[in-house]
Symmetry: D3
Subunit: 238 residues, 6 copies
């Protein structure tokens, strides 16, 4: 039995609130149950040095957690003077994932920065960030098209992400904090809306996992991501 009473293949309620703040080209509040992340997409007419003059764009991400997004207050990274290893890992993952859905030539020499700021954490902040970040990215691209700065959206594929794991011997999808902190194995999966894999990051915290467990987790991830892709499409169609 999962602490939340959910079925093993049941994801939490997903809410995607577009235009959550007014300044950004794309701004989305994403909620996976009690996990809440503000995702904004900012477009700038410049690219990092290593891409200059190549006619191609870039998508990058930054991730942060408000100090009291969690049960006990964490140190503010700006005050500490550096981003922790976990933050660095997560923002690199978000950036790679969202780049995989884009046509960088079609984007042209622009950088889109996806800022994912967790205001309340209850497990799955990185998968929520990718899923909500994609909607912010889509809105920002639509904004560029509407403003006549791009002829068409450079997005080629939707991107969504969910966690899977083994909780008390059973494979489950979309772990909340109560499950995540006790999971024996934890895997984050990123897929596109064609059903192909973008990223698979599995870690055996408690005990190493067998090949058949991996197969079961991948099946659950495919099911969960299909529902997230549907939620993204519904949100973007409104």
């Amino acid at each position: 039995m999962r602490p939340s009473g959910r079925q093993p293949d049941e994801i939490r309620e997903v809410r995607l609130t577009r235009n959550f703040t007014k300044h950004a080209e794309g701004s989305v509040l994403v909620e996976f149950g009690d996990t809440r992340v503000i995702c904004t997409a900012s477009v700038e007419e410049r690219v990092p040095g290593f891409l200059r003059g190549q006619g191609r764009g870039w998508v990058t991400a930054e991730y942060g957690m408000l100090p009291r997004a969690t049960d006990t207050r964490g140190q503010r990274e700006a005050a500490r003077g550096k981003q922790g290893g976990r933050t660095v890992e997560i923002q690199r993952l978000i950036g790679r994932s969202l780049r995989a859905g884009m046509d960088m030539e079609a984007l042209g020499e622009r950088t889109v920065t996806i800022d994912c700021d967790v205001i309340q954490a209850d497990g799955g902040t990185r998968t929520a960030s990718i899923t909500g970040g994609f909607v912010a990215l889509a809105d920002a691209m639509a904004c560029e098209v509407a403003a006549g700065r791009l002829p068409a959206s450079p997005i080629r594929h939707g991107i969504a992400s969910v966690s899977v794991g083994i909780y008390q011997g059973t494979p489950v999808v979309d772990l909340d904090y109560a499950e995540d902190s006790n999971a024996e194995t934890d895997m984050n999966v990123v897929m596109n809306d064609a059903g192909d894999f973008i990223e698979v990051q599995g870690t055996a915290e408690g005990h190493p996992f067998r090949r058949d467990e991996m197969d079961a987790m991948l099946d659950l991830a495919q099911g969960g991501i299909a529902r997230l892709v549907a939620a993204q499409r519904e949100a973007l169609s409104q």
Copy 2:
């Protein structure tokens, strides 16, 4: 005429949403018009080194702005590796202001950290942070009393803050961004609920101000703060 159509002595609509997030002892979303700040109060059973063993508590504040809280994206301070001078100034002001309403002996050897994170900026983020931060602090103290960790709230006075300035020759209260960026003089005033001054920080951006202008601004501040104190009381009574 003010850009927003407000009267010179009219503050923006104020909203104070308590229990905005679930983990913190106090958590408030404060809105001064389009300016929105998440204020959380976190209580920890320890004090900084310089206070250890004296039986007294401490209240401190940290301030941050999400990178895209503003019209153009600002660099994330955690990524840059240090907090800017403006951030440091603001968080020191918030901390000093809120300490002025507390009885530190009654707090005992505890630290309350007020985190003020701006999710949308439209002028007055520091005054909104102080005003909302006080409500979060009050909730956190009530939480400690309810949990039996404190016999009574160590709060002695309510604290609120508003900006005043001279916009196109006229003294006005609670400047929004359109006014603030064009104001000739800008002053942040912090007062307690007894009508006394805690902090006065006036800066002549455009032209130095005369003594009579200062008097007019202080009058406006007193009126604005009276309304904010009323809003705090109403929010806390619900």
Copy 3:
């Protein structure tokens, strides 16, 4: 009775020693009683990025304290790897104050950096820095005129600063360390030589202050600054 035996409206002896060191365009040792600060003004033919190509100049300030300027040795900020919050606040105040007396178009694309280094501290280091920094700035501008790099000094107003506060219930001017460390309320006031306010920064350390106390403090500040402006004029006339 004040610890120094001064009258409430009596400032300390002020000494302004010009040409204190030989390399800078302006170099002044300012002394407010036992508080001693070396102020140098350095002119460079460039402006910060945000001003480039606009034909306007910039004045900025940096502040430091020798580690043993105070009674107990403080950590060297260069060794610690960052400037503290107090330093950042003070140097921003000095810069804003001195910019208020300048015509930036007349300065042209030049940056003047005012370095204020406290070699002995006894209260009022920021007000002494502003008062002495102005004399260094005036000397540097005269040096540019003498060298033919500027047709006339871009200084429009003299700038001086003094502290006021409430010590044992009595408003007093120009607090020394013995007073400052026990003051209930402390306010730094910056004015120009036309008698208008540039900055007012009041903080209630001990008890919040009433409007009539504020009025008394502003009166004392006006008197004290008038005497500092006279001292600046005398020093510059020699």
Copy 4:
């Protein structure tokens, strides 16, 4: 055809030179073809703060690359003042992987630090680091047993790692730099000597991968790791 002429399921020549330097409890030069990494294991009689007093030990890893380990010189991270995101990711992976083979209660309150320093890079530095790091760890544990500080080795499972990917449409194992820099998909797999998975980190650089491609890559990884485990056993038996 692979650039090196290897078969798709053929790993590079592996060399594990024990006692490569004289000071460390375990010191191994690991070579995967032209990739060469010095792995040392250092034992200290203390644990990080979060483990103190629990009777359990810790294994952590640090990773670095000599500036000219690569074709063009990279900036020295010590000179730059921080470790890059890639470094942080890799050293966290190495640490998690090696912890998975250890019984932390049996280790007692000791920390083993695995330093992996790449002196020549040709693809697969992280998989070589894990594979060589395990041998250094095993030697360090044997050293503790020999010195009477531990009754028996706390190692429960061997750990090894290999990369797999899709190069020009074909799944291949143990990619060298020529392949890695052109691979469409890249996956690092860590397994224990019982054939279970510890970590799976797959990234679609070029094109997202299908489930059948993932299966093929996992098959290759299992074969490659079996050969690495055999090489570790042979090295440790000498």
Copy 5:
């Protein structure tokens, strides 16, 4: 001919002003011609971690230059966030030199920090710092004896330092900036008052130096230091 008209073996006028600032246990303004350095000695009742519990003391030094101590303004190290390589080298040299004259057992578990802050630079700031720093150290030790915290001064030997070099083919002593910036070879020599060497740091900027040139420079250094030791004794006897 030297730019200053001095003889090859002639040092600049030396002034040692004791009690230059009021807070430190020892405070000296040292002047070697136009080079002016404030040296303070601060005594604290604690030692660095590596010495704790051994009954021995420590002497350390920190060095800084005011940004406009030189002809063109240098960046403030506190603002830049780190001390430069030259600063680190110099402060390590000062600390080692002054430790060589002390009996650390007699000092007991105390740390003396010598702060050397250059307010005007004209060559030889490190040699002036050592020479002036010794007088500040002697005053601080006398202060501890006078206060009854030490039974007798732990100083065993006076320490002084001078530079020598080869300027336009001629060995000269105590180079000023005009000479130093054109010297072919530059050597800083530290000796004690018994005429023995503490440090010799020679660098061939322009051309490597022969053994006979080295001998000539060492002779000049011995002569110059003898005069500095005399100046220290005279200053301390007043």
Copy 6:
């Protein structure tokens, strides 16, 4: 009697292994007995800002120690976020020493970076770095000539370095760790292959040294360096 059984004027066995790694223009493993340092020379077609447009080149050095190169593990400087004072001193010494043998006009607008990374330390790491770094520099210059980027090598003199010191009252050459950690006086000497001095850095750790001791140490250094120069020539002739 020296711990190693060597004669006072006997240096350790020296090995210079060229082409130790494959990517750098010059790559040498230098061994002074058990001290082992990897020295690489990297050539880049750019110069630091202060040299731009002058037609001259630059040689600089960076130094590091693997954390477990020593008997107890040292903190990794990249993890700590800054290079220590000792590292800064050493890399500045290596850079200055190697520049002394070069004709910078002949090098043209190129920077050669010598990276010296100690993989095993047993005393004399800086002298080994200079001696091995020179061979790497020579190989890199030969590589540039062979590639047609330079008409001839810009090296004018060979550079080598050895330590001398006073161990148990006796002057000795090339101290190993057992001697170095107990030496009363320690001096690093750098000379060119014409027998002239480039750097002399002597420090009296235990007791100040007399002039005659200095003479004896310089004699030993000259003898030791002559043997190192011969070893360099032999290595480069193969």
